[in-house]
């Protein structure tokens, strides 16, 4: 389990992470989403002992990570900017990983290389950006660690390869109980991959939830009545957003959609339709509800209140 408590990291006057708390359970794929500069990469670097926290703690399986090889041998990191030894090929890199990671599997390395159809003897600096990302993923997964950290890794893969990687990741999680932490600035990338999602905003996790719960926790209701009405009419419902144009109103409601539909239906609307939200919309409205805004100021306003 990865546990962060009041985790703080500063770069000069910039607070990249501030009092961040989170628990990432074993055997899940944990997605972390946030805008550029939200602190995703910093968090992963702290998870991998690259950075030392300025305050707070981060531990994996109960052990502090920074400069702790006993913990770090359970972690492998695929950063956004990849590193390969100069003039090296995959075999040379495998040699390096093997010398560092005690459970590195040459057999798996061979299998993965074959699956990705990468030439292990070809110099890595001749690879395309996507191929280099595949190579880094192969090496990381061959290290057979308990924790794998991907920093926007999927963003650079084509759909076929993305699915291939996801498939391998699922296998690892299911078969070995491995934990994967994946960051992205695109929620759609993580939507169908992760078990849990966290939203990182200005150095802190502002929202964290199980993906399945998250998807069903909010829903949109489109209604229309013959008479004039406002949001006060719908007592008993937790309405996060109420936007009315003419006689038609759109409501974002948290709770049980069946129950909500029954309450509204009892008021004989001209139109009643329950619509699912995309994960991105769910995040936005949850953020709004928490008082955060990372979109244009126009999102705030009386219309939504």
């Amino acid at each position: 389990m990865i546990k962060a408590r009041k985790l703080t990291k500063r770069f000069g006057e910039v607070e990249a992470l501030l009092d961040l708390n989170c628990n990432i359970p074993q055997g899940c794929i944990y997605g972390m989403v946030g805008a550029n500069g939200a602190g995703k990469s910093t968090f992963l670097r702290l998870c991998n002992g690259i950075y030392q926290p300025d305050a707070g703690h981060i531990s994996i399986n109960g052990g502090e990570v920074f400069d702790n090889p006993a913990v770090k041998e359970h972690c492998v990191f695929v950063p956004d900017e990849l590193y390969f030894l100069p003039q090296s090929n995959l075999n040379r890199m495998a040699l390096l990983y093997e010398s560092m990671y005690p459970r590195f599997s040459l057999e798996r390395f061979a299998d993965l290389s074959a699956a990705f159809k990468l030439d292990r003897t070809r110099q890595l600096n001749t690879f395309s950006k996507g191929m280099r990302r595949q190579a880094a993923t192969i090496l990381a997964l061959s290290a057979m660690t308990d924790y794998v950290f991907f920093d926007e890794t999927f963003d650079g893969l084509d759909p076929v390869m993305r699915n291939l990687v996801k498939g391998m990741l699922y296998d690892d999680v299911l078969e070995r109980g491995c934990t994967a932490v994946v960051t992205s600035h695109s929620l759609r990338e993580l939507e169908d991959t992760c078990d849990q999602l966290a939203l990182l905003y200005q150095g802190g996790i502002v929202f964290e939830s199980d993906v399945q719960n998250l998807k069903t926790s909010l829903f949109k209701v489109q209604i229309a009545f013959a008479e004039e009405y406002d949001r006060a009419r719908f007592t008993g419902l937790e309405i996060l957003s109420f936007i009315k144009q003419g006689s038609v109103a759109n409501m974002i409601i948290r709770g049980d959609s069946v129950k909500a539909k029954a309450i509204i239906g009892a008021q004989s609307p001209l139109l009643l339709e329950v619509l699912p939200l995309t994960l991105e919309e769910v995040f936005l409205f949850e953020m709004e509800a928490l008082g955060y805004s990372f979109e244009a100021p126009a999102l705030k306003g009386d219309e939504r209140a």
Binding site: F11, I50, Y51, P69, F77, L82, M100
Partner: protein, 769 residues
């Protein structure tokens, strides 16, 4: 073990290149040296392993920059710091891998050098081989450690390199400038007399640079103490680098410094080498260079800060910190003056001095004389010596105060007897200090020194015969060595039978006679060089009449070398020299006359010289000398070679180029017989050669020139001797009248020639061997 092997692999790219380059350079330099035609002495460490001196800096910096290169790039830094290996282990894995490559390169280069020397039968100090490997490895590791510190403190290659230079050299440069300031201000302290904490060579890596600036330091650079000291420093620096590496923030990658405070520290450090010039004694008060130095210091500081801070306001705010290095410079200025004055003022009482030692005048030269080396170990406890040294120290200081520098030129006669000697004073409490003193009378000093039996033994000591590597500049496998070895053997066997010191450095000095009288008469000198342990010596033994067997062996060698003197040509040229017309024609003759009887009963060596050319403005004198020279040559034709150094004998060298009436050269037939090559085998066009009487063609010159450089020692019949003395009396009178000599052996108020009849010849010394 795995991180270490991985680091070995990582460094292999640059490691193999440096290894190959070092080997090639070592092979080239060694082959170049070993195949050179002439060696006078065994090479020193610096000469023998010069490619490794470059490797110290190239290797140290390159391995540090390559080994820790990942610290300069964020992605690389992230990767290495994410690996499951502790920072401490990672640091030592890289450092040990660098050490492995460095040691392998040094070992390979040293072995290759030794192989080349051995195969070419070139003499070298064998102990150097054992010393060179740890020496150059430690020195390179010192540079590596400085690089490791720098790389741990910064995050770009350029700042890393700059900081490496500062870490490596800043303190040592400060030390060097302070030492220089003290030397310049005391005037009686040499680089070799500084206390250990001011000596530039204790740090063997920076010491290599110091010895290039001050070659005298070469003698002490390779000492075991310096290596041990440097090993400790290198270890300490590596440990510091490891601590910094462990504490280093990964986010420093791609940034010059962790923060503006560190930037300012770096800027101040960059200024210090400039302001330390104040401490060096180069810049004096009221010197116009003071504002220039301050201006340069400010310029460096401001430019550096502008580059790294990129904000005028921040630069302005940091300006007050510039006062820190300026204060260091001013403190250095007054500090060195104060320290120098304090050192200069210190004069112990004679009774407080336990003993003194004399390091020897040439202690800083590439190789010292064996006797000087032996004398340098002698402890002079005698009161006379101690007192003379203390008085001289006091007098030297007073002289500096009076004239601003050591200046004893007020007495021309005394000036000849001045001698400068490095003196180490050891006090009763064990305190030791050294000064370079100017003694007013070297004979007085020698007189006092001779009270010490150890000195007498040391001054007469000869190096072990089997340690001699070069004789007369020839190696043991060359003819020159073999031909002269007989003289050396005789010299070694004869010296102990006499009371003479081996080296002229320990003889009483007579500025008038210049050793040209009686048994002091000099027939030649033997150049001997070799090594004992790691000490390389280079001796010159003058062969004097006082050692007749050696002198006889020398004469025999010279006579054997002289394969044909062509005295008939000499006579022809001498006669015709009175009337030279061709522009390039000339004639000269030089004669050393041994055992010339003098009016005071002594026998002296005198020199006589005569020359002619078409445009001579001393015709009057030459016309007076011409008949004397003609007659001398005529007598010379009747003379016979001699090996008896007690004979009244001459040693005549001559040269000339002269045309016959028909336009041919005098001696053209002899010239034509000579091989048309130089001594080094290079081609010489027909006739354009100098000819020497031992049959060697020595170099090309103007056409038709003949030089007879290697004659026999020649003795005369009693009647000819009598006539020759008369000739030389007249010749000398003319020479004196016109002040016309080449060798300058003209006693001002000395005895005259030949008023005493020539005595019966002394018996020839027993044959040697």
């Amino acid at each position: 073990m795995k991180p270490y092997l991985e680091s070995i692999r990582k460094l292999s790219r640059v490691g193999l290149v440096l290894f190959a380059l070092s080997l090639v350079a070592s092979a080239v330099v060694s082959i170049q040296y070993c195949t050179a035609q002439y060696h006078s002495n065994v090479p020193g460490m610096t000469q023998m392993f010069s490619p490794l001196i470059a490797f110290i800096y190239a290797g140290g910096v390159v391995f540090a920059m390559e080994g820790f290169s990942f610290l300069n790039k964020r992605s690389d830094s992230d990767f290495y710091h994410s690996l499951p290996v502790s920072r401490t282990k990672l640091f030592w894995a890289i450092s040990l891998a660098a050490l492995t490559w460095i040691a392998a390169t040094v070992l390979g280069s040293v072995l290759l050098t030794v192989i080349v020397y051995t195969l070419t039968k070139t003499a070298y100090v064998q102990l150097f081989t054992l010393v060179a490997v740890p020496f150059f490895t430690i020195a390179t590791m010192m540079v590596f450690a400085a690089g490791a510190i720098a790389m741990s403190l910064t995050g770009t290659a350029i700042t890393g390199l700059g900081l490496t230079v500062l870490v490596f050299g800043l303190l040592r440069f400060m030390q060097f400038t302070i030492a220089r300031g003290i030397i310049a201000n005391t005037q009686i302290i040499s680089w070799l007399d500084l206390p250990w904490y001011l000596t530039p060579v204790t740090n063997i890596a920076t010491g290599q640079i110091a010895q290039l600036l001050r070659p005298m330091l070469r003698q002490t650079l390779y000492s075991p103490f310096n290596m041990l000291y440097s090993l400790v420093i290198a270890g300490g620096e590596l440990f510091l680098a490891q601590v910094l590496f462990k504490r280093r923030h990964s986010e420093l990658a791609e940034h010059g410094a962790a923060n503006t405070v560190m930037q300012t520290v770096f800027a101040c450090a960059a200024v210090i080498p400039v302001v330390m010039l104040f401490a060096s004694g180069i810049i004096r008060q009221r010197n116009p260079s003071i504002p220039i130095v301050i201006g340069v210091a400010i310029g460096i500081y401001v430019i550096y800060q502008i580059i790294v801070l990129r904000a005028a306001k921040k630069v302005l705010l940091s300006l007050p910190w510039l006062l820190v290095p300026l204060a260091v410079g001013i403190a250095g200025y007054y500090g060195t003056i104060g320290a120098a004055t304090s050192m200069q003022n210190y004069v112990p009482n004679t009774q407080d001095v336990a003993y003194v030692q004399f390091g020897g005048l040439s202690r800083g030269s590439e190789s010292v004389s064996y006797q000087q080396y032996m004398v340098s170990k002698v402890r002079f406890t005698e009161t006379d010596v101690r007192q003379y040294a203390v008085e001289t120290l006091r007098d030297n200081i007073a002289n500096i105060r009076r004239t601003g520098y050591i200046n004893y030129s007020y007495d021309a006669q005394a000036g000849y007897l001045l001698i400068t000697q490095p003196v180490t004073f050891v006090l009763n409490d064990g305190t030791k200090f050294s000064r370079v003193l100017t003694f007013l009378n070297q004979n007085t000093l020698l007189n006092y020194c001779q009270e010490n039996s150890d000195f007498m033994e040391a001054a007469r000591a000869l190096p072990p015969m089997d340690s001699v590597r070069y004789l007369q500049g020839a190696g043991p496998y060359q003819n020159g060595y073999l031909e002269n070895s007989k003289i050396l053997d005789v010299f070694y066997s004869e010296l102990p039978e006499t009371m003479y010191p081996a080296s002229d450095s320990y003889r009483y000095y007579d500025p008038n006679s210049q050793y040209a009288s009686d048994e002091e008469q000099n027939y030649g000198s033997l150049s001997v060089s070799g090594y004992v342990g790691m000490m390389r010596y280079w001796d010159n033994y003058n062969i004097r009449l006082g050692m007749p067997k050696s002198a006889s062996a020398w004469m025999e060698y010279q006579n054997n070398q002289s394969k044909g003197e062509y005295l008939d040509i000499l006579q022809e040229m001498t006669t015709k020299s009175a009337d030279l017309h061709e522009d390039m024609d000339y004639f000269n003759i030089s004669t050393m006359v041994y055992n010339t009887p003098m009016s005071d009963g002594t026998k002296q060596t005198l020199s006589f010289y005569f020359d002619r050319s078409p445009y001579d403005n001393t015709v009057e004198m030459k016309d007076q000398l011409q008949p004397l020279v003609n007659e001398f040559v005529e007598i010379l034709l009747r003379s016979k070679p001699t090996t008896n150094p007690n004979d009244f004998c001459v040693f005549v060298t001559w040269g000339g180029r002269m045309h016959n009436e028909d336009g041919t050269f005098i001696g053209a037939d002899i010239i034509a017989q000579q091989p048309a090559t130089n001594s080094d085998g290079s081609f010489v066009s027909g006739g354009s050669i100098y000819y020497v009487s031992d049959g060697r063609v020595i170099y090309g010159g103007i056409s038709g020139a003949i030089n007879a450089y290697s004659p026999c020692y020649r003795a005369f019949s009693a009647a000819d001797q009598a006539r020759l003395i008369e000739i030389f009396q007249q010749w000398k009178a003319v020479q004196d009248q016109y002040n016309y000599t080449v060798y300058g052996s003209k006693p001002v108020d000395g005895p005259s020639i030949g008023t005493t009849p020539v005595e019966t010849q002394t018996a020839e010394p027993e044959p040697v061997g």
